[in-house]
């Protein structure tokens, strides 16, 4: 140890003068110094063990003694037994869900140096399991997962990521190997010192394996990437290690070497065999086309919009089939799209007979990555969200996205309806009818604009023109135009109303990319096209239980546009 026992005892005595310690508690030094590692910057970690049933806080008390930072934790015997029981339960169920922090607490106690209260400490350490077996099994689990991830990344043409995961797999495998030989301290950074100790004890295998690990570490970062000419794109796996885009020798070799070392460290179930990587569906992920554009909803909360190539890749997903086989059938950029789908938790990758390939590692969060939301404005048009790259996150919660989309469709339908009424009133010389129709048209144009910007629910008609000015996404010219139209509709120059409103609608549709919106009442085919998009939005809205713009909209869209009081259903 870098601090001798006498010094430690003095440190403990002085520390206990500064904190409230339970009477009769045991005391140990745990962590890197106790394990025989550490340096001048290492904290001194004392654990006090109280012979009681209390729930002592997890947070340590931090004091400074003799220029050293000292962390003091207190736990009751009940707490440490509960932790040990929890580890046992996790081990019985496999290692997948055993948290690093929990195992770490159990290991630190068992690797600690006893300073006070040997009997309490002995009772605190009672445990039916073998610590080397548990730590070795736990690291083997994570190594296996990382190596599988490396193989999966390679299949998807993500070579840089593949080698990074392979490196993690090799280091975890090494930690598993040293743990099985008694070096159970979890902290990864002391791996070299752990090998040193085994080597010093005469373990020749430890020296050989450490050299192989160091060799991989030295060679891995540049090899695969530097072998690829800068102008040559990474191509996905297409049926073997050959043809990965890197050339057979360059691509497969580093991964094979990592896999071989992992196996030699005693971790099985992760051979570098691409056919082991299968595609799987992820719970809570659903697909919703709107027009020709695919939207994928994750956990009823997030909406991702796919561009056309990503959409084709999405449609090519065949659950339970090898990823390589799916890619061989899928169009060009499917591999990078699938890799992104996996990263953001839209699909699972499975190891044949081995369950999901976990993306997370011991000290990292398990949730899938969520990319930053798209900054495109307007947020949505009639045909759904604005596609922004392969896979873009819509910057609205899913339910609000569906509600805004339905409001958008409904507003455009009502624009057409009001325009027809306006024409009729103008033809008939009915000024007040025209004024009312014009106002209705103006309000629906504003609603189309605001819903396209993601506003939902929408403000009442009385305030809607004024609200345009508060949104930076709405060009000032359109805001001014809408305000001017509102003023004109209050006046008497009614011969100008239709022209001004048409210009405003054209501006709105130009902005929301709805310029091709069919004039709903002009032809049966155009009306059908309008309703089909409406049905797409309704299907999504029904899934998310989103708000319909008004009940009449629901009736119109779900009735296929039937007009109940008109003969012949037309």
């Amino acid at each position: 140890m870098i601090i001798d026992r006498a010094e430690l005892t003095s440190l403990l005595t002085e520390t206990l003068d500064l904190v409230d310690a339970p009477p009769g508690c045991g005391a140990v030094l745990e962590g890197s110094i106790a394990e025989g590692f550490g340096n001048s910057a290492s904290d001194v970690d004392f654990l006090l063990l109280a012979d009681d049933d209390h729930d002592h806080p997890t947070m340590p008390t931090i004091v400074f003694v003799r220029g050293r930072r000292v962390e003091v934790r207190t736990r009751s015997l009940r707490q440490v037994r509960a932790q040990a029981d929890a580890v046992c339960a996790h081990v019985a169920a496999g290692f997948g869900a055993l948290p690093a922090a929990l195992l770490d607490r159990c290991q630190r106690l068992r690797g600690a140096v006893v300073l006070r209260g040997e009997d309490v400490v002995r009772r605190a350490r009672e445990w039916p399991l073998s610590l080397p077996e548990v730590v070795a099994g736990w690291y083997a689990h994570h190594s296996r997962q990382a190596m599988r991830h490396a193989v999966a990344s390679h299949v998807l043409g993500e070579e840089h990521e593949a080698l990074a995961w392979a490196g993690i797999a090799a280091r975890h495998a090494a930690k598993s190997w040293v743990a099985a030989r008694g070096e159970t301290y979890l902290e990864p950074k002391w791996l070299d010192q752990q090998f040193d100790r085994l080597a010093a004890g005469g373990d020749a295998e430890a020296i050989r394996l450490r050299e192989r690990l160091a060799g991989l570490r030295g060679g891995q970062a540049g090899d695969a990437e530097s072998a690829r000419p800068p102008d040559e794109p990474v191509r996905p796996y297409d049926g073997g290690w050959a043809g990965t885009g890197l050339g057979e020798a360059e691509s497969a070799q580093p991964l094979d070497e990592h896999a071989a070392l992992v196996a030699d460290f005693g971790v099985d179930g992760c051979a570098a065999d691409p056919e082991q990587v299968l595609l799987g569906l992820r719970a809570g992920v659903t697909t919703w086309p709107i027009g020709d554009r695919l939207h994928v909803v994750r956990d009823r909360a997030d909406v991702f919009v796919l561009d056309a190539p990503a959409g084709r890749a999405w449609r090519s997903i065949a659950p339970g089939r090898p990823v390589g086989e799916v890619l061989r059938r899928a169009p060009g950029p499917a591999a990078s799209a699938l890799a992104e789908f996996h990263r953001i938790g839209l699909v699972e990758l499975l190891w044949r007979d081995g369950g999901p390939i976990a993306s997370a590692q011991p000290w990292a969060p398990a949730e899938p990555v969520t990319p930053p939301p798209s900054t495109r404005m307007p947020v949505l048009g009639l045909a759904g969200a604005a596609a922004d790259g392969h896979v873009a996150l819509v910057p609205l919660p899913a339910k609000r996205f569906a509600a805004a989309g339905m409001a958008q469709v409904w507003s455009h339908i009502m624009i057409e309806n009001a325009r027809e009424d306006l024409s009729g009133a103008l033809d008939g010389g009915q000024r007040e009818v025209a004024r009312t129709s014009g106002l209705r048209l103006l309000h629906h144009a504003c609603r189309a604009l605001l819903s396209a910007c993601g506003m939902s629910p929408l403000p009442p008609d009385a305030a809607i023109v004024a609200r345009l000015g508060a949104l930076t996404a709405v060009p000032a010219e359109l805001t001014a135009q809408a305000a001017a139209v509102e003023r004109e509709l209050a006046g008497d120059e009614w011969e100008l109303w239709a022209e001004r409103l048409d210009k405003l609608v054209a501006g709105v549709r130009d902005l929301v990319r709805a310029e091709v919106f069919p004039a709903s009442f002009d032809s049966a085919a155009a009306w059908e096209a309008t309703l089909r998009i409406g049905h797409d939005w309704i299907r999504l809205g029904a899934y998310l239980d989103a708000d319909f713009p008004i009940e009449e909209a629901r009736d119109l869209l779900t009735s296929g546009g039937a007009q109940p009081h008109r003969r012949g259903g037309g």
């Binding site: 569906l281 992920v285 659903t286 697909t287 919703w288 086309p289 994928v296 999405w314 449609r315 090519s316 997903i317 065949a318 659950p319 339970g320 699909v347 049966a524 059908e528 089909r532 049905h535 797409d536 309704i538 299907r539 029904a542 899934y543 779900t558 009735s559 296929g560 546009g561 039937a562 259903g569």
Partner: protein, 366 residues
């Protein structure tokens, strides 16, 4: 109870085969009447071992080729006597469950066939378990009770009408009888396994392939799906506890009906599936469909379309009292189990070449 001598008609069918195998496993002597299919295959694909009728006995199945549409089940007198003598129960499961058949076919198989089986039961005073359908309720809306039959309902298909008439034959006869009415029979509760992909499975195929993109229906229409293993278990229970069941009707239905919204939401969980729109029936115009879709619609979907607007809820008080277990799987979770099986075995998620293949799956002549 064990040691009964039971005749099962339609023993090669989906329900008949499963009931045959289960009764034999329980120690009964099973005489399995089959029409054209000589093999009895269980729902999970296992072939049931059979012995000649002369060697029949407890725990064994003997296969007899016959025809329920004919007097004496199409058997020679001697064979008919062999079959009819000493019977303790008859389970009448023979029927065509295909949609879109000519009425004459339904009348012959489902109505006349039942009449012939009822006659056998009456002649020999054998208790009869008649397998009907919950959809004898036709297009009724709301709660449907087990003891209701004729309430002036309208029928959506010839199949339903024929099963309604068959139940009337059973009720009119002077035989001790029980009626079991399954709803739409689908895969097992736990694994979704189903031997035959018929009826609604064909519709699912057309939906998921995008060959039919809109159908006249409502998101809140109700489909009652019942696991095949529950139906078979309930029928066997009725055979074993006939005295308690006698004179009653049992709805063999799912734990809760599924809405079409459930179906839409479940299909959306599969990236490779298309999901249909439901359009109000009052406004739906098959003539406005694209030509390819119109063909599929007219030749297949039209047979099932009344199911997309129904809102019947089947009361199953009698079944709840007698059944050995009750279905528990509901909603999207159960649909996922059924769809996962379809994908696993390659029934869904793989395109069929054309209308001919789909018609073949639907059991319809071209």
């Amino acid at each position: 109870m064990s040691g009964l001598r039971v005749l099962v008609t339609g023993a090669a069918g989906l329900v008949g085969a499963e009931v045959t195998a289960r009764l034999a496993n329980e120690g009964h002597t099973v005489l399995a009447l089959v029409h054209t299919r000589p093999e009895i295959v269980r729902n999970d694909g296992r072939v049931v071992r059979t012995v000649p009728i002369g060697r029949s006995g407890p725990g064994l199945v003997s296969c007899v080729a016959g025809d329920v549409t004919k007097p004496m089940l199409g058997l020679a007198t001697e064979r008919y006597e062999d079959l009819a003598t000493g019977l303790d129960r008859i389970v009448h499961a023979a029927a065509t469950t295909d949609f879109g058949r000519r009425w004459e076919t339904y009348e012959s198989l489902n109505v006349d066939g039942t009449r012939n089986v009822v006659r056998l039961a009456a002649e020999r005073a054998v208790p009869l378990v008649h397998v009907s359908t919950a959809y004898v309720c036709g297009e009724r809306t709301g709660r449907v009770l087990e003891d209701e039959l004729d309430v002036g309902q309208r029928f959506g298909t010839g199949y339903e009408r024929s099963k309604f008439l068959a139940e009337q034959e059973v009720r009119a006869a002077a035989v001790p009888a029980v009626v079991v009415r399954p709803s739409m029979i689908v895969g097992t509760q736990e694994s979704g396994v189903i031997r035959d992909f018929k009826n609604m499975y064909v519709v699912l195929k057309l939906f998921t392939q995008g060959r039919v993109r809109s159908v006249p229906g409502y998101y809140d229409a109700l489909l009652d799906l019942v696991p095949v293993d529950y139906v078979a278990a309930l029928i066997c229970q009725v055979v074993n506890r006939f005295d308690e069941a006698r004179g009653r009707t049992f709805h063999a239905v799912g734990a809760a009906p599924h809405t079409l919204l459930d179906v839409s939401n479940a299909l959306a969980e599969y990236p490779m599936f298309e999901v249909p729109h439901y359009v109000s029936p009052s406004a739906f115009d098959a003539g406005a469909l694209p030509p390819d879709e119109r063909v599929y619609y007219r030749r297949i979907i039209a047979m099932y379309e009344s199911f997309f607007r129904r809102r019947a809820r089947f009361d199953d008080t009698n079944a709840a009292r007698l059944a050995p277990w009750r279905p528990a799987a509901t909603g999207v979770d159960y649909l996922r189990t059924l769809l996962d099986h379809c994908v696993r075995v390659g029934y869904l998620g793989r395109p069929e070449p054309g209308i001919g293949d789909v018609l073949r799956l639907a059991g319809r002549p071209r």
